[in-house]
Symmetry: C2
Subunit: 131 residues, 2 copies
């Protein structure tokens, strides 16, 4: 059994802020924990617009706080985001998240993020596996 708190991982290697400062992701479970998924708390800055694409990962995102809009860039469809909304990127969809107020969401990745990925020039996380 592993017990951790968001507070104790804050400011460590598990706490990653994007280069543009628009999002921050605290990874409380990573690939190195060897449970087949990673589990992150992500916050997105109020007023920001963010393009994401996980070509190598499925992601499930459940909103805890905030309001905004999700756009599926494959289809152009938009969805309102609020506490209780969940979106599941089961088809590796390119998507845009627009935050009206700060968004706080818990995110699951399969395969797990290892913590060593950096978004590439396309905003894609490469597939990195645990040695």
């Amino acid at each position: 059994m592993i017990v951790r708190t968001t507070e104790e991982i804050t400011g460590t290697e598990r706490d990653v802020t994007s280069e543009d400062g628009q999002w921050r992701s605290k990874r409380i479970v990573l690939g190195g924990d060897r449970v087949g998924f990673s589990f992150h708390e992500t916050t997105i800055r109020a007023g920001s617009t963010n393009e994401f694409h996980y070509a190598n990962h499925v992601e499930g995102v459940w909103l805890v706080e905030g309001t905004g809009t999700l756009t599926n860039r494959e289809t152009g469809e938009t969805h309102p985001l609020a506490a209780g909304t969940m979106y599941l990127l089961d088809g590796h969809e390119r998507h845009t998240v627009r935050a009206e107020t700060e968004l706080r969401m818990l995110c699951v990745f399969n395969p797990p993020v290892t913590g060593r990925e950096v978004h590439d020039e396309n905003g894609v996380y490469p597939l990195v596996t645990v040695d």
Copy 2:
């Protein structure tokens, strides 16, 4: 892409209350979604004590609200539970969750729960796979 809300799954087959009424689990992602994990919002009633054991699943639990105590029944160790605490049952540990106030937590299961499991006489979920 699948988009759902906690509100729209409330009162459906995805919303399960324990026989004793002490916990309720809303499964927004299940095995049938075929992404390799399930994702649940579980609430545990204030003042209740609950024994759990997932012999066939790894579970990661991240507290969003409430206070209580987690006991690892394999070792007798106890841990305080509060918003931001995460526990990962990577060794299928028998454990007890005591809720001082109502606990609200987001939970990830690997392999995914299908929604057809019922806790057996030992409080264990059987392994059920999607056809």
